[in-house]
């Protein structure tokens, strides 16, 4: 047998090492549809418990929306369960083409190429459009999927301090001898919830002749006054060249991703992107659900408006209670605790209070930046927010951190 005891001991040791360092990730079993209120079995084998969910990317509350579920059901009947093919062999139905058209329309782009996920969109894009003669200039806090995509590309790599426009300008100057330049950033950064200054980025792109690529996974559907994303928020809808995004967060939360941009870029992805060419097509039910999501969002801004209102209420409530927050304008609201153990302890105590949140610490965030990342949804009702605020306040009091600033929390709990 090839899987020897030596191999087993090695992997067991690695896993034990993760447990010893406190970075081993345990999954919790949810026994209900994704929603603001969910039924969770945790720890494994325990009686399921009803908790309020403040850690999902279900920003628009569409993950279990009846119209979306109905559209997916209908597609199961009319288009089947799976396609058993990649797109270019026999995995493209009329609804895949329709979703690409609708997504381009929604984002204000010429063309779209669907991928099985945004992870795969980011893994495939750069290698297709940039060569060793070109430069990719990225923010240092871009999502891990972009980092992986950049590593797969042979273009020259530059990166700049998070959201620092002076540092970006230095890098653009360094890259002036390259044939093509692409500035690469997240629209909304997932850990801090801050928004990239796309207006300034586009100005620099014009000045130094660079393309602008944005991963708007944590923005599409709700950032900007009609929810088109960070390019709408910054009034640069015609100045951002490429947007990658996901159907796995605000847009229904199932799976799937896309690259949208000039029609040549979308077509280059279709012809050459390896994750597009060699992984399965999006399942029909998910495509139909995604089409319904875009229809809902194109008809009305009610859900993104409610999300905005909920976010404002949540931020104000936590601030008033005395928590140290990362300031911002998005439904990602990080409660800063700095100490990794404190973040884990508070997350555990909140769970006992019926509030499901997660503590994040190094290496997921920078050393000494441990936090609980709360995420607000249009699916949250006022009573959900009030119950969670009361629980946060109770646990904050228990640990004596209310009203404390960064230095005071660190003085009390260390880093």
């Amino acid at each position: 047998m090839a899987y020897s005891s030596k191999a087993r001991d090695f992997y067991s040791g690695e896993l034990q090492g993760m447990k010893d360092k406190g970075i081993f990730k345990e999954e919790r079993y949810i026994q209900s549809p994704q929603a603001a209120s969910i039924n969770v079995e945790y720890p494994k084998g325990a009686e399921p418990k009803q908790v309020l969910n403040f850690c999902a990317n279900n920003y628009l509350g569409l993950s279990s929306h009846p119209d979306v579920v109905k559209a997916a059901h209908e597609a199961l009947d009319s288009r089947g369960y799976g396609l058993s093919s990649v797109r270019f062999i026999c995995g493209t139905q009329d609804i895949h083409n329709e979703l690409e058209i609708q997504m381009s329309e929604f984002l204000g782009m010429e063309g779209t190429c669907l991928f099985p996920s945004c992870m795969e969109a980011n893994a495939g894009l750069f290698d297709v459009v940039l060569t060793p003669e070109d430069a990719m200039i990225s923010d240092r806090l871009v999502h891990a999927s972009i980092v992986d995509g950049l590593k797969l590309c042979k273009a020259q790599m530059f990166n700049y301090k998070h959201n620092s426009m002076s540092h970006l300008e230095e890098k653009l100057q360094e890259a002036q001898s390259c044939r093509l330049r692409m500035i690469i950033t997240d629209g909304v950064f997932s850990m801090d919830g801050d928004i990239a200054p796309l207006d300034k980025i586009c100005d620099l792109a014009d000045k130094y002749d660079a393309m602008v690529m944005v991963d708007d996974s944590h923005a599409t559907g709700f950032i900007g006054k009609t929810g088109r994303g960070t390019h709408e928020y910054h009034n640069v809808m015609k100045r951002v060249d490429i947007i990658t995004t996901t159907f796995g967060k605000g847009l229904g939360g199932a799976t799937g991703g896309s690259v949208s941009g000039p029609k040549e870029i979308a077509e280059m992805c279709r012809q050459r992107a390896r994750p597009y060419l060699f992984s399965n097509t999006m399942p029909p039910a998910v495509v139909a659900g995604s089409l319904k999501v875009l229809e809902i969002l194109s008809k009305s801004t009610d859900r993104r408006d409610k999300l905005e209102k909920n976010t404002k209420y949540w931020r104000e409530g936590l601030s008033k209670a005395g928590f140290d927050l990362k300031q911002g304008d998005t439904p990602i609201v990080p409660v800063m605790l700095y100490n990794a153990k404190l973040a884990q302890d508070i997350a555990r105590d909140l769970y006992h209070e019926g509030i499901y949140v997660t503590g994040f610490f190094f290496p997921v965030v920078a050393q000494g930046q441990a936090r609980i990342r709360t995420q607000i949804s249009a699916g949250h009702e006022m009573e959900h927010l009030d119950k969670a605020l009361a629980a946060f306040t109770k646990i904050g009091e228990k640990y004596g951190i209310l009203g404390l600033k960064k230095d005071e929390i660190i003085a009390k709990y260390g880093l």
Binding site: R140, V147, M157, F158, F362, P363, Q367
Partner: protein
């Protein structure tokens, strides 16, 4: 000579990786990667800087997080690939 080079690399690390208002001290044995000052993704700037400054080529398999984890380690690495320091 070596001290001057160390000072130069420290200055680059401070400018390239620390916030302008940071008062963090960097010494020749300060851990850069394992402490989180420089992450493995942004390490590429430091690698490019060293290659240009010393007219050397650092192969990817040798430009590891361990080799970049302190200014002392970096000096050892660039010496190995022909830098006159």
């Amino acid at each position: 000579m070596s001290d001057e080079i160390k000072k130069m690399i420290i200055e680059y690390v401070k400018k390239e990786y620390l916030d302008e208002d940071s008062d963090q001290e960097i010494k020749e044995d300060t851990k850069l990667i394992s402490s989180g000052i420089v992450d493995s993704f942004s390490m590429v700037s430091l690698k490019t800087y060293l290659e240009k400054k010393f007219s050397i080529k650092l192969p990817d398999e040798d430009a590891t997080p361990e080799a970049f984890d302190s200014v002392n380690n970096i000096i050892e690495l660039i010496r190995k690939f022909g830098a006159k320091v």
